[in-house]
């Protein structure tokens, strides 16, 4: 489980200013903000635009282009299931259906209590130990329903 600081525009300003002089600073800035706060607050976009001297549209365009960046805080636990071909060939579809049924949300959704979100990911590079998953940054290979149930039990604790 990851813990994040609450949104703070002053802290955000310091983070942005610290990376301002990098070549092509926008992605490093967005990563740093998301690492700190867990998401990219709407207030961050005009702030970045102002400091980097680019338009708000440009910043918003970048934030929305990339799958990684979120506009809202994530669930307390993030379970990513690889849905790409190597994991499909080893029963990934069935595993994903099992996870959806167990957690009670579709891939891409989060439980109403904000406890866990279930996200598809297209390849973790663990294709030789497929199917694979990532729980809060921890990699898990040779997944099966039993291992998945154990992970969910771990979340519940």
């Amino acid at each position: 489980m990851s813990t994040y600081a609450p949104w703070d525009i002053g802290v955000a300003r310091t983070i942005i200013a610290g990376k301002q002089s990098m070549l092509g600073p926008l992605l490093p800035i967005l990563h740093a903000l998301q690492e700190e706060f867990g998401y990219i607050d709407r207030e961050a976009e005009p702030l970045i635009a102002d400091i980097l001297n680019v338009t708000r549209a440009e910043v918003h365009g970048v934030v929305t282009f990339y799958h990684d960046f979120r506009h809202a805080p994530p669930a307390r636990h993030v379970l990513k299931l690889c849905r790409a071909e190597a994991c499909q060939s080893t029963g990934g579809d069935k595993l994903a259906a099992h996870a959806e049924a167990k957690i009670g949300v579709a891939l891409g959704g989060a439980t109403a209590d904000g406890r866990v979100s279930l996200e598809p990911v297209y390849c973790l590079g663990l294709c030789a130990v497929a199917p694979s998953a990532m729980l809060d940054g921890r990699v898990i290979g040779r997944m099966d329903e039993e291992k998945l149930d154990a992970l969910l039990a771990e979340i519940d604790r």
Partner: protein
């Protein structure tokens, strides 16, 4: 005497519990009051044996695998007593068939060394390519790479030396070396393994590229799905700076070169070189039209060498051993070795580096041992989500850029994903279109709109809604995508779709006429 143990910290090994194994071995050693040194390495690439633990014995390293934390006590006992009867005892790793038959040039050190130790790197022949590059004029370095026949290992197969020469010949106040480590193809993990297991060889290759073309700054663009690789690279770059392998005067020479790791943000299309450059610049990862080539106007409009991890990591051995040494491996216009990645439903998944020319059948049946499920192999997808699906009847194809292109496929980044006879090829074709729709950057209409229309057309074919007409429509759509898209995402998505339709028509509910022709 301290017993040296090697436990992989490669993400693939971690995913199957190598961290717990390392901890359990330490606990077991402490309990016996036996001094041990546990070195965390990359992976040898024999993933069905991971976590694979190696111990230093009198005659060299001995491997055990797959080891679980519960095996730690008995494995340590066996290692201390030299007992060869332990059920997980594998003998010398280099004598295992899977490793013995490989030609490890690019992956010579991976799994063998501590990836964070420059001393270990040098003790295993690391650094010799750079040494040689500093002794000859930059033009000779480029000539050596050209003569080696090295082609882009990311998938496009463009001659690396020619790319370098173009950048070298373009005058500019600033040039860049960019390493494409946005390895997003399913079934591929060689870049990840190399960055986690031998990062210095990539640093060395990029430094040589910088010296050769006159670039002083490099970027490694790594996908965010690879946190372990990012951590190892950052540590290695710091270590290289400390000893002057990176910085203002490379190894005391007048050449300056430094490196920075940049992290992607989950966009598959950023593996395409021009969208990667836009992403590095802090923009949406939208594909650029070529020309201008990145070699003329690349990152921030400056001449840029952009190469895949494996291309750059192959350069040091080419410089160290000479172009002829590397060129002597391979077939036709595919020279040297290719780190092939066996993945998915395969009995022996792993990294298999070998000279070009090995057949698909040898790879899947002999090396890979068929499926993990034990069912017959029905299809293999080569080259990631944009690669074709091949049936057994094409298993005679040699692994070679041209041979695969002739068979309407591609070797791509060398990933081979094996499927058994439970696979539904219509569903796989549908997924190819679906994936393209999710990942399209949106620039080209055939890719942006065509992929969604493609899913719908395949759905109609599957439910037998005007099947013949819709099949013709799908073929037409694929043709439009192939020739009307700027990059490989829209341009190559037709490969998996059309190959599935052509080789496995029965899965699309083909009429009896076609089935009879099978």
């Amino acid at each position: 005497m301290t017993l040296r143990l090697f436990v992989p910290a490669d993400a693939g090994a971690l995913a199957v519990g190598s961290e717990a194994v390392a901890r359990a071995l330490q606990v077991a050693a402490d309990r016996r009051q036996t001094p041990v040194e546990i070195v965390r390495t990359g992976s040898r690439g024999l993933y069905w044996l991971e976590p694979m633990v190696e111990v230093v014995a009198a005659g060299g390293r001995i491997a055990y695998g797959p080891v679980t934390a519960a095996d730690a006590e008995s494995v340590l006992d066996a290692a201390l007593s030299g007992d060869e009867k332990h059920p997980l005892h594998l003998g010398k790793p280099q004598d295992l068939g899977f490793l013995k038959t490989q030609t490890r040039l690019t992956f010579a050190r991976c799994g063998l060394v501590d990836p964070r130790s420059l001393g270990d790197y040098r003790a295993h022949d690391g650094g010799k390519g750079l040494e040689r590059a500093l002794q000859v004029p930059p033009a000779s370095v480029i000539e050596e790479v050209t003569q080696s026949g090295l082609r882009g290992r990311g998938g496009a197969g463009f001659p690396t030396g020619i790319k370098w020469k173009t950048v070298a010949d373009t005058a500019a106040d600033q040039k860049y070396i960019v390493c494409n480590a946005d390895e997003g193809d399913s079934g591929t993990y060689a870049d990840r393994m190399l960055m986690e297991g031998d990062p210095f060889v990539l640093i060395e290759g990029m430094t040589i590229a910088g010296i050769a073309v006159g670039a002083t700054q490099g970027f490694i663009y790594v996908r965010s799905e690879y946190p372990h690789a990012i951590a190892v690279l950052n540590d290695a770059i710091r270590a290289a700076r400390r000893v002057g392998m990176l910085g203002r005067h490379i190894a005391g020479s007048p050449f300056a070169f430094d490196l920075e790791v940049r992290v992607g943000a989950g966009a598959y299309v950023c593996g395409e070189e021009t969208s990667l450059l836009d992403s590095l610049e802090g923009k949406r990862g939208v594909v650029r039209a070529k020309p201008p080539l990145p070699a003329h106007k690349g990152l921030f409009g400056k001449p840029t060498v952009i190469n895949n991890v494996l291309s750059l990591a192959s350069v040091p051995i080419i410089l160290a051993n000479g172009a002829a040494f590397y060129r002597d491996f391979g077939m036709g216009r595919s020279r040297g070795t290719m780190p092939i990645q066996l993945a998915g439903n395969v009995k022996y998944p792993g990294l298999y580096e070998t000279a070009f020319g090995i057949t698909l059948g040898e790879l899947v049946d002999d090396i890979g041992g068929g499926t993990r499920s034990g069912r017959p192999v029905r299809a293999v997808q080569v080259g990631g989500p944009l690669g074709a699906y091949f049936p057994r009847s094409l298993f005679h194809l040699p692994f070679d850029y041209e041979a695969f292109a002739k068979a309407d496929g591609l070797i791509g980044h060398g990933g081979v994903v094996v499927f058994d006879d439970t696979v539904d090829m219509a569903k796989q074709a549908r997924f190819a279109m679906e994936f393209c729709a999710i990942e399209s950057c949106g620039k080209c209409t055939p890719c942006r709109v065509g992929s969604t229309r493609g899913v719908e057309v395949i759905d109609r074919i599957i439910r037998n809604d005007n099947r013949a007409d819709n099949t013709a429509l799908l073929e037409d759509l694929c043709h439009t995508m192939k020739f009307g898209s700027l990059c490989a995402l829209g341009g190559f998505t037709p490969y998996p779709v059309m190959s599935a339709l052509m080789h496995f028509p029965e899965d699309f509910g083909a009429p009896p006429k076609l089935q009879a022709a099978e």
